[in-house]
């Protein structure tokens, strides 16, 4: 075999392998097992063990459609967990490129599974606000000034859930489903200055930098990418078996299904990297012909 030709393989062949590795697990769901890592367990335990029925969680949708396949399953699993436990959720969006639409879509989807929930009583969507850092800082003074109305234009004073919520002190936890830097601001600005516990669900590519905040106890948990989302799904289903019916719904996109795809694509990439290095060392050792 001509190793030089292997090195110069057309990139479209690599693309084809990745495409097949992506499409096949979507059609034929493998259902690979998911192991739980400590950062996700910490996030789950914080909500499960340290929050009571009626407590308020602020959930910030800080991502857009580009990273929704990773962030949306986190949002779904955390909303389902909160609602199953009777925790009230205040939703906001700080990401300009579609954060609000993601919040509306995910809330519509999950609240449809909990018909007993009442908008304005058990949950509320305050909508989008520009100037993420400034909005976060101002919310420590008065949330009603940052979001005078909810997403439908209803004044906050007319929403029962918001009557006793003025600042972060009235809430127990902040959850940020984040792409880019906004999740970091929740940890290094809101947690550091105002002390409210923060859980961040970043994309896999951003996850490594959040370990520094996690180790420094500036975060109460971390859901790193699709893997983190799939772990959270597993924990939620184990604790609330009724949610297993929801997750078994055919056609519903879940992180566990997404992990099948990610697993195959990771294996393909590992195989190509190993092959590339084997060929590199083999050709390097071979003496070159005299020209």
């Amino acid at each position: 075999m001509n190793l030089e030709r292997v090195m110069q393989v057309d990139r479209r062949i690599i693309y084809l392998f990745v495409a097949i590795g992506t499409i096949l697990p979507i059609i034929f769901v493998i259902g690979l097992p998911v192991s739980i890592t400590p950062p996700v367990q910490m996030a789950f335990d914080r909500i499960e063990n340290e929050l009571q029925t009626g407590d308020i969680v602020l959930m910030s949708f800080d991502y857009g459609p580009s990273s929704a396949p990773e962030n949306a399953p986190m949002a779904d699993a955390m909303l389902r967990h909160c609602f199953s436990k009777g925790i009230k959720v205040v939703v906001i969006a700080l990401y300009p490129l579609g954060g609000l639409s993601e919040a509306v879509n995910e809330l519509n989807k999950v609240t449809a599974e909990f018909p007993e929930l009442k908008y304005g009583v058990d949950y509320v969507n305050l909508g989008y606000k520009d100037g993420a850092q400034a909005a976060m800082k101002k919310m420590a003074e008065n949330i009603h000034e940052v979001f005078p109305t909810d997403v439908n234009g209803t004044p906050l004073d007319r929403l029962p859930i918001m009557k006793n919520i003025r600042t972060y002190r009235d809430m127990k936890l902040v959850v940020s489903l984040a792409t880019g830097i906004i999740g970091e601001w929740w940890a290094n600005l809101v947690n550091a200055q105002f002390g409210i516990p923060v859980i961040v669900g970043p994309t896999a590519v951003s996850a490594p930098k959040y370990y520094a905040y996690l180790e420094a106890k500036q975060m109460a948990g971390l859901l790193g990418g699709l893997k983190g989302a799939s772990e959270y799904e597993r924990l939620v289903v184990n604790r609330y078996p009724k949610l297993g019916e929801v997750y078994a719904t055919p056609g519903l996109y879940t992180a566990t299904k997404g992990m099948d795809v990610q697993s195959i694509v990771h294996l393909i990439m590992i195989a190509f990297i190993v092959l590339g290095n084997v060929v590199y060392f083999t050709t390097k050792r071979k003496p070159r012909k005299a020209s």
């Binding site: 990139r11 990745v18 857009g64 396949p69 101002k138 439908n152 930098k209 992990m259 990297i273 590339g276």
Partner: protein, 220 residues
């Protein structure tokens, strides 16, 4: 005056929040929180400025017939259409911005779901293809540092998927160790470095040493 006034405003806007952080006096705090409110408004205008900039750049591109100018037309048309339906939704012309009270889609929501969402998803998904191709060609154990990076990357990639645990339970543990210890140490170094850089740049701006943001050359 044209230079002194912006410099003075920058100095005040930069120093007031710092002073307020250390001085627990009510009036200082009030000024600082008012500035926070203004910052939200300024951020809104910055977004508007971005839109104006995109329009100017692309209009110039079309005017000069620069390479790829037809794409500029598509971009401006998309901006106008999404902007129109967004504004119309905000003024309740279609029963809401994202969805109507009965849950049905507004035109803005329809465009978001069936144009913006797939396009953004495609952009992000393409990364997987490029990364696979690039890692095959460039990820080589050329020296000690590259070899360490390569081994760490392979371990993390393998340990983050269920196959890793199927082979050995040590793979996920090794992955968590790499992420929680060496990675974290490196990330801290990067973050401390970036924070020091940001702090020194902020000081330069507050003290009027750095003036490039005014469109004025350094030291002028």
């Amino acid at each position: 005056m044209k230079r002194q006034l912006p410099l003075l405003l920058t100095f005040l806007a930069g120093t007031i929040p710092i002073v307020a952080f250390f001085v627990p006096e009510r009036h200082v705090g009030l000024v600082s929180t008012t500035l926070d409110s203004w910052l939200i408004i300024v951020a809104g205008f910055a977004l508007l400025l971005g839109v104006v900039n995109v329009i100017q750049m692309n209009a110039n591109k079309i005017h000069r017939r620069s390479s790829g100018w037809p794409y500029a037309i598509v971009l401006l048309l998309s901006l106008a259409i999404m902007g129109f339906f967004g504004f119309a939704g905000a003024f309740d012309m279609f029963g809401g911005i994202a969805t109507r009270p009965d849950g049905s889609s507004t035109p803005f929501d329809w465009l978001y779901k069936f144009a913006f969402l797939p396009l953004q998803g495609t952009m992000f998904a393409l990364l997987a293809f490029f990364m696979a191709s690039a890692s095959y060609r460039a990820f080589r154990a050329r020296n000690v540092e590259a070899t360490i990076l390569l081994i760490a990357a392979l371990l993390v990639m393998f340990g983050r998927i269920p196959f890793g645990e199927m082979v050995s339970k040590w793979f996920p543990l090794a992955t968590e160790w790499i992420m929680g210890k060496p990675n974290m140490a490196a990330q801290r170094g990067i973050m401390i470095g970036a924070a020091l850089g940001a702090a020194s740049m902020a000081l330069r701006i507050i003290l009027g040493i750095e003036r490039s943001y005014l469109g004025i050359g350094k030291g002028e």
